[in-house]
Symmetry: C2
Subunit: 443 residues, 2 copies
Amino acid sequence: MKPQILKGTRDFLPEQVYKRNYIFDIIKSVFQKYGYLPIETPVMEHLSTLTGKYGEEGDKLLFKLLNNGDFLAKANKDALAANDSVGLIPSISKRGLRYDLTVPFARFVVMHQNDISFPFKRYQIQPVWRADRPQKGRYQEFYQCDVDVVGSDSLLYEAELIQIYDEVFSHLGLNVTIKVNNRKILKGIADEAGLSDQWVDMTVAIDKLDKIGEEGVRKEMEGKGFTSNAIDKVFSLLATEKLEDLNFTNESGKKGKEELLAIHDFLDESKLKNKVKFDMTLARGLGYYTGFIVEVSADDAVMGSIGGGGRYDDLTGSFGMKDMSGVGVSFGAERIYDVMEELDLFPTDVTQSTQIILLSFDKKCLEHAAKIAFKLRAANIATEVYPSAVKMKKQMKYANDRGIPYVIVIGSEEMENGIYKLKNMTSGDQQSLSMDDLLLKLQ
Amino acid sequence: MKPQILKGTRDFLPEQVYKRNYIFDIIKSVFQKYGYLPIETPVMEHLSTLTGKYGEEGDKLLFKLLNNGDFLAKANKDALAANDSVGLIPSISKRGLRYDLTVPFARFVVMHQNDISFPFKRYQIQPVWRADRPQKGRYQEFYQCDVDVVGSDSLLYEAELIQIYDEVFSHLGLNVTIKVNNRKILKGIADEAGLSDQWVDMTVAIDKLDKIGEEGVRKEMEGKGFTSNAIDKVFSLLATEKLEDLNFTNESGKKGKEELLAIHDFLDESKLKNKVKFDMTLARGLGYYTGFIVEVSADDAVMGSIGGGGRYDDLTGSFGMKDMSGVGVSFGAERIYDVMEELDLFPTDVTQSTQIILLSFDKKCLEHAAKIAFKLRAANIATEVYPSAVKMKKQMKYANDRGIPYVIVIGSEEMENGIYKLKNMTSGDQQSLSMDDLLLKLQ
């Protein structure tokens, strides 16, 4: 049988695990510095928890688990007779794989509301599954990395999340632009242009500005029946560069502007290492966001957004818990990895674990090497022993292939006088050291 | 809709995540000190990779994913007509959830044989899924934690894995007994007693000694048709306490004894913190082990084994790669967690993340608090800001509930003179400090 891996899934070799953990560890350390707490939810959820939360398309992309045992015994006979796959699902599948981290988080908050303190600041870094057609850079199994706070509408948290973005990306060595906007400003533009009832269509059109340009967006708006007056008004407002210069006569616009200014007051923008840019054309698709929205892009690479998020008014409503306002952002860990590879930003020692390997000339030397290794490890030095006294060339090849920086060869001389020749594999230098000096040198 | 979680699955609250990571981090750090490398494999595997690897019972316990789209279109009509659930599966499901980490590891080794160096030392800590009936302490989704080396038959690795057990458990503060045996010794006993052809039945019976006692085992052996002479011979050999006193006239027994002695020579047992005990009755079920076997139990708690493993001769044969000998052990992370809770072994600060929280009397104070927090975090101090200037009692309650050790209340005085009263929430003591002194104190 030829071993195969499913399309859209990946094995991670040690080097990749080290690099991925390098990213995750930096992200986690910043989250923790801001008081966010880790939670984990199961990979499997009730299908009824997931279905209907991601639109019709999302329902199709959910991975569903076949009930165990004699599932056909309880299968919907009508659906079977009609060859209705979709209709059959509820009767033969009650479990699904997590599709994102937001719905499980909402379920978690409602179920554990008496065990947690509000505002509840949590982060969660776990894989999710989507039955999308696999292609380059798009996987069926991939990690999401979310940080949210629920149970407060304070704009302090918006400022905190911007700081978190700034700090994580500067730790990673990535220059980024953090674009911010507010859904209420988009609503305000629509109100100002007399498009209150069509503000969603307007937002969808504006969202495409990056891709199809002003002309394309104008065409789309015309197609939706917007008057040319209204369209001109929209674009004249969008042309305003500074938030301060934006004057609204409607409540939504005023409120959106006020909120962004308040966030600004909480931030010491001069102390941030990356640019925060007010971008009125930022729309973040048709998500559930109701206020602040944010998106991050890498300055030095051609890549979509590597992070984004915003404020939502009603995280937990579908689970019967009302008025839970929250704000959160996510890190596009898979894309961040790709950008960091492209820009060669991983530290060279990130994949290096073992510091020294002991090789040996014969069986007695090997036993001696095992004892030496014991002492080195007791001093917290990551140590390997080549497991058999085969040809020295073969042992050296292993040391080289593994990229281990130091080698000691144990022979009868070393066993007798307790002086070891430490070979630096990069420079080729050798140094003769007693056990004590060896420990000092490597610690 | 009332939120629910699937039976047999769990949410992990922040405290639980911290405690679980405490265990995993210690285990990982020891693995790395011995030169083992992390790998990760996907949650989803081809069902054909998993099926047939865990026996008939295992096949039933595999979680199977329904094919997406119109799966009925390709469903096996005969199986449908016959209401044959098991027969239908291959035509409507091509993916399954990982059942253990061993089969994915074998697949990984074969697929990546040109990317890795042999002997390949790897560890893997990931969840697995089994459709067992959920009950106390038994989950459908749980973590496994495996460390293996493949591509060498050197007994040095047996010694290394014993050292790893010893080191991990002493770091965790658990006293354990590490029982070792060798399958070849069991085979040798069978040969010695004239039970060569029935050695599997003999092993199965001996494996139950713990549970049903000598009398029970004798009865089971009688039931299998063993002569009373043979049974007496088995028990007289099992009564030998010291490995050195065990004299075999057959090859298998001699080899098993020789191997255990060689492992002993690689180990400095006097330097281990836990007992290593030779236990001839240790059988480790009917697994694929062919040589050394090991099992760990906690001395101070009533709990099954919290770790075990052994050597296998043919990890990758079913994927077409022959003669890959390996040895590995696993840590029963879920049980270790339970024992550590029972014995109260988690450090008290393991769940503490945020060091200080800033509370404020009004909106201006809150903005000031945000700036102070910026400075504290820049000095790597984990800091929270209560997000609104509500009643002080409510703010204090949050600080208390979250178990945050230090509090500063920002009022107009603090803003004016830059002196902050740092309150120790455990002792109740207050200390007035400048920003610089505050940083010194908390760093």
